[in-house]
Symmetry: C2
Subunit: 133 residues, 2 copies
DNA sequence: TACTCATATGAACATATATTCATATGAGGA
DNA sequence: TCCTCATATGAATATATGTTCATATGAGTA
């Protein structure tokens, strides 16, 4: 709105403003990259993956499963990490939904483990990153 | 409390309950891993790193910087991603605080780029993970 | 079938966070 | 010095999320 009023006093500015509201943009940069940027859906999926790992409790769960190189039942996980059973179960569900862990039932117990080595790779790379600072 | 009342009718149960509230724990599992689990501070740092990558807007910023293999000024980034200048700046600050991007000033403009190849590695590994499903 | 136990889940609450709007900062130019 | 412009930032708001509490589910067992 402030712009509009200013424009009426300067026709030269009007033309430019109709094309682009801001002056600082480098059109050649935009043109070059505009169609190569990650698709919004993919960005959402990727963000969801990282978001899932973006909680200290879930990190500790993943860490436990990573060092066990095997599986834990919910109850042991809760005890190991000092969490309530409910909190543990809720967080395991989040990890499950993102396919970061898998599980199987054995009688009354449910055992969880990392879904694949990819998860381990991501986790280790993250660990490396924070260690180098 | 429900436990307490039950306990008074069965002394055998009392003893066990005083040691451990839950029955399903495997003590040998706990003992074996209890002292090897990631330190809480480290878990927080690692979660913060992933949390920073856990937002679609920041993912798209990182993606743009990754494919440019160079730098963008704030204004170009905003235009490229269809974001407001303010939102872009706020998110760049988050990325800066987590040391995922670096920047330098040139006159009025500020140019941002990925901080190091580690970030790129993490990003790519995440991409791989979601592509394989 | 009735009971116990391991796990899952829904609701509620407190906290964190992404965006917008308005404004501040600070560099370059007239 | 005053103005413009690129960027940064604070406040406010809407939304997402982690934990707890209470309860449900569902497998084993008497």
């Amino acid at each position: 709105m402030a712009d509009k009023e200013l424009l009426e006093t300067d026709n030269n500015l009007v033309a430019e403003s109709l094309i682009c509201e801001v002056e600082c943009i480098h059109p050649e940069v935009i043109d070059r990259f505009a169609n190569r940027i990650i698709d919004v859906n993919q960005a959402n999926d990727l963000a969801d993956l990282f978001k899932t790992l973006g909680d200290p409790t879930r990190i500790r769960i993943v860490d436990a499963l990573a060092l066990a190189k095997g599986e834990f039942c919910v109850c042991d996980l809760a005890e190991l990490l000092g969490l309530s059973q409910s909190a543990t179960s809720h967080q395991l569900r989040v990890l499950r939904n993102s396919k970061l862990v898998k599980f199987h039932r054995e009688g009354k117990m449910v055992y969880y483990s990392l879904d694949d080595d990819h998860v381990l790779g991501l986790y280790r790379q993250g660990l490396e990153h924070i260690s180098e600072r």
